[in-house]
C-alpha cells in the first residue's frame, strides 16, 4: 500500500481541500440545522395547532425520505421549478455548494427538531411549576431551567445526529460537491486503488467523529450539574 504517496503532492492537496469542504458543510449544516430545528420545536410546542400539523408533515417528509433523493431532486429537479412573476421569471438553479448547504440544513433541522421535542416533553412538570412558584418569569424559566435540563437530556442524541450529519455530507458528492469522499474516490477510480482510498476515508472520518465525541463528552461534563438530581 502506498498510502503516504497519496497523502502528499497534488493528491494530498486535493484531499485536504476536500476535508476542509467537508468540515465547512458539516459545521454550517449542523449549525443551521440545530437553530432551525430548535425554532421548529418551539413553534410546534408553543405555536398554534395548524402550524404544528404543518411542521409535523414537513418533518415527516424530510425524515422519511433518503437524503440522496432529496438532494437529487433539489439539484437536478430544481431547474425545472420555475416561477414566472409577470415579466420576471426565475428558476431554482443552485450551484452544488448552495444546494448542499440548503439540503443539509433542512435535513438536519427535521431531525434536530424531533430531538428537541423529546427534550421538552421529558422535563418534569414539577420543575417548571417550581420555577414559577419561586417567581421566575417565562423567559427565566426557559433559559435557566428548560434549556439547560433539555440540553443535558438531548446531548447524547445530538452528538449521534451530528455524527450522522457528517456521514451525510458524503452523499453530496453525487451533485459534484468537492468534499472529502469526492476527492478520495478520484484516487480509487483513477488508479483503481480502492483499498487505499477506503482506508483514507475510514481513518479521516473516524478522526472527525472522535473529535465530535470528545467535544460532546466535554459538554456533558460541564452540563452534568443540571442532571435532575432531586426530582
Amino acid at each position: 500500500m502506498n498510502l503516504l504517496a497519496y497523502l502528499s503532492g497534488e493528491d494530498g492537496r486535493n484531499i485536504l481541500s476536500g476535508l476542509l469542504n467537508t468540515c465547512l458543510l458539516w459545521a454550517v449544516g449542523s449549525g443551521l440545522g440545530t437553530i432551525f430545528g430548535f425554532l421548529i420545536a418551539v413553534a410546534r410546542r408553543y405555536g398554534p395547532r395548524p402550524l404544528d400539523y404543518l411542521l409535523q408533515a414537513g418533518v415527516e417528509v424530510i425524515r422519511g425520505t433518503p437524503f440522496l433523493v432529496q438532494i437529487y431532486l433539489l439539484y437536478f429537479g430544481g431547474p425545472y421549478l420555475c416561477l414566472s412573476l409577470g415579466e420576471a421569471s426565475a428558476c431554482l438553479t443552485l450551484d452544488p455548494l448552495e444546494a448542499g448547504i440548503l439540503g443539509l440544513s433542512v435535513y438536519g433541522a427535521a431531525y434536530y427538531s424531533e430531538l428537541f421535542r423529546a427534550g421538552f416533553d421529558a422535563i418534569p412538570r414539577g420543575h417548571i411549576e417550581a420555577a414559577t412558584t419561586v417567581g421566575l418569569n417565562r423567559w427565566q424559566t426557559l433559559t435557566r431551567i428548560i434549556l439547560p435540563e433539555m440540553t443535558m437530556l438531548v446531548l447524547p442524541s445530538m452528538v449521534n445526529m451530528t455524527i450522522l450529519m457528517l456521514k451525510e455530507t458524503a452523499v453530496l458528492s453525487i451533485i459534484s460537491v468537492k468534499e472529502l469522499k469526492f476527492q478520495v474516490d478520484i484516487i480509487g477510480n483513477r488508479d483503481y486503488a480502492f483499498v487505499e482510498s477506503f482506508t483514507i476515508l475510514a481513518l479521516v472520518y473516524w478522526a472527525l467523529v472522535e473529535v465530535c465525541g470528545v467535544l460532546g463528552r466535554a459538554a456533558e461534563r460541564r452540563l452534568s450539574r443540571y442532571r435532575f438530581a432531586h426530582s
Binding site: 437536478f76 429537479g77 459534484s176 474516490d185 484516487i187 480509487g188 477510480n189 483513477r190 483503481y192 475510514a202
Partner: protein, 277 residues
Amino acid sequence: MNRRALINWSMAAATAAVLAAALPSAAAADALYNVKKAGVLKVGTETEFAPFDFIDKGKHVGLNVDLFDEIGKELGVKIEWVTLPWDGVLPGLESGKFDIVAGPATITKKRLERYKFSPPIAEATIALLKKKGDTSIMKPEDISGKPTGSGKATAQLAQLQEFVKKLPKQGDVKEYVGFNEAYADLAAGRIAAVGNSLPNIAYVAQTSHTFEVVLPTFGVKTYFGFPENADADHVALNNAVAAAMAAIKADGRMGKLQKKWFGVEFDTPAEVKDPAI
C-alpha cells in the same frame, strides 16, 4: 500483491491479517481448474453502465451478458452474475468473490499496473453528447467557452480536459460521480455537453430521445477491456478467456453483438499492451 494489500487494509483487521498469513491459501489448484470443476464462472459487474450492463424491466441485460454467454459456451461453463455498485466490484475481484469483472473499463497504463485486462471489446474513444436540437454545437470544437462535464477520474474526463485546453476559449469542465449525473445536469441545462465514450453515448442518444451525439470522436484512441486478477493463480483462466474471446471475434459473433448493442461495429486489436494513456 493486491491480496496482501487488502489484508493490510485496516488496523481493526490486524488480527485477521495475522490469522490469514498463518493459514495456507488453497493454491494447489489454480483459478481455471476451480472454475472448470465447479462448472461456473463467476462474473462481477455493476448495473449502471448501459449498454454494457443495465437493468431492463427488472432484468440484467446488455452486451456483457450476451458476450459472457458466448464465453461460457466456449469454456463449457455456466455464468453466474454478481452485481454490485462499482465501489465494491474491484475489491470483490481481489478477494476472490468472483473470477473476472465485466466492468468494462478503459485500459490505461496506471490500471495495467494493478490488473490484467481481457482483449478489448470496444473502442472507448470520446465523443460529445448534447441536448437534442442544440444547433450551437455541430462539431466538437463548438464547445469552446461552454461548460461541459464528464465522469470524475475517468479516462474520458482526462481526454475532455485535454481537448478543452486547446480550444480558443476554455469553458468549465465539471466532474460528476457517475455519467448518469452528468446526463441529468445536461438535461437540467447546467452544462452544454457531456464527454463520454462513443458506445455509451450512442446508446444514450438512441434510447433517451432527448440527447444527440456530436461527431466525430476526438482525442487518442482507447479501448474497453474486462479487468482481471494479475496474480499467478489466474494466468491460465485469463488465457482461456482471451482464447474464447478470440474465437468469438474471429467468427463474427463479436461484430454482431456490437451491432446489436452499439449500432456500429468496432475494429479492436487482439490485445492492448501499451495503451496510449
